[in-house]
Symmetry: C2
Subunit: 189 residues, 2 copies
DNA sequence: CCTTTTACAAACCGACTGTCGGTCTACGAA
DNA sequence: TTCGTAGACCGACAGTCGGTTTGTAAAAGG
């Protein structure tokens, strides 16, 4: 059981790559399974053998994308001097990554609508939100009672600014504004 | 040109009401035009006479919903003592309104995916965002260079907390957390 | 009174998603 | 080596849905 399993895995990955591109370029609704089949040269039956349906395919794409982003952020943060520094570096990295139309469209725009907010949130918990929350906690500037909520709000604010960059906003200005936003939030007096 | 115009307007409003309910209950994708036709007792031709398509129908629903929300917030804010007070009252009102599943699903979840982020943002500019930005400006606590960006981030943060309330989060806790979030943001020293 | 415009109806079209019976081939046991 | 099984893959088909087109009745307007 090796050649078969490998072939299957290769097929899944091929479909995943193509679907990722299409979902990012046209959005979920305007991407037809038909097109995925054509571009991958696969048959209907084969695709539905590997993925339960269009929604499941999207979820797989989303999962892979989030995992990639998570890995890059972890790498960027590695070796940060302080919790605050880690937070800043992580946020800046995330904003830059979200400038990628693939991430913008799939993760930030379509995901909540396609999966429903509940499932989307559960998935976020395992990736960006989870990381942000622990990083925020480590700074020790947010009361425990508000940690979860403030982490949510901060992530939403960051994602919004990432979308603004992706839309063509000036990189430097946005990052400076986010820095200031963060500075005000973390300040204890 | 009176009897006919009235009939048309009445039909449009009837469809709008039914469509609003369906979009809120099932989401955009899982709401079929077919269902709207059945529940309204209208024919295909009639619906497409009044609305250019499914997306246009959704946009009309969204527009009406946002207008309603805007009016309620304006009313709530009326007579606030200071810019800060107006900001706080407006935000609290918005959070409570967004607890309504209709608003949650239509305005916050589906709208960006259906209309595309650009058009969604343009529409928001005319409603919640526009109001928030001018209210924030009036407090005089945010440098002009960052006003637009901080207004965006703040709105995103507020919307997120509204979603958390809608999901079943504790009302009072969320509102307290938002108050604290806002307090930190507006603090100048 | 006659033309135009408007509201509405119904048949129809093309595209799409998901299903189902079936084929082929690698793999492991006899 | 043989043979049964399971997983990869195929393609036809059914059902649904969004949107179009053609047609009708009646109100509006000159």
């Amino acid at each position: 059981m090796n050649l078969k399993a490998e072939r299957g895995a290769a097929t899944r990955e091929r479909v995943l790559t193509i679907a990722t591109r299409l979902f990012a370029e046209r959005g979920y609704d305007d991407t037809s399974i038909e097109t995925v089949l054509q571009e991958s040269g696969l048959s209907r039956g084969a695709l539905y053998h590997h993925y339960a349906g269009k929604e499941a395919l999207f979820e797989a794409v989303l999962e892979a994308t989030e995992a990639g982003v998570g890995a890059k952020i972890v790498q960027a943060v590695r070796g940060a001097g302080s919790p605050e520094a880690a937070l800043r570096i992580g946020i800046r990295t995330w904003i830059r990554l979200a400038g990628d139309p693939v991430i913008k469209r799939i993760v930030l725009i379509d995901a909540p609508a396609v999966l429903g907010w509940e499932r989307w949130r559960a998935l976020e918990e395992r990736y960006s939100f989870g990381m942000l929350k622990s990083a925020l906690d480590a700074t020790g500037t947010v009361p425990a009672a508000y940690l979860d909520l403030h982490a949510h709000m901060l992530l939403a604010a960051i994602n919004e600014s990432a979308l603004l960059v992706a839309r063509g906003g000036d990189h430097a200005t946005v990052e400076a504004a986010v820095e200031e936003f963060l500075r005000r939030l973390l300040r204890t007096d």
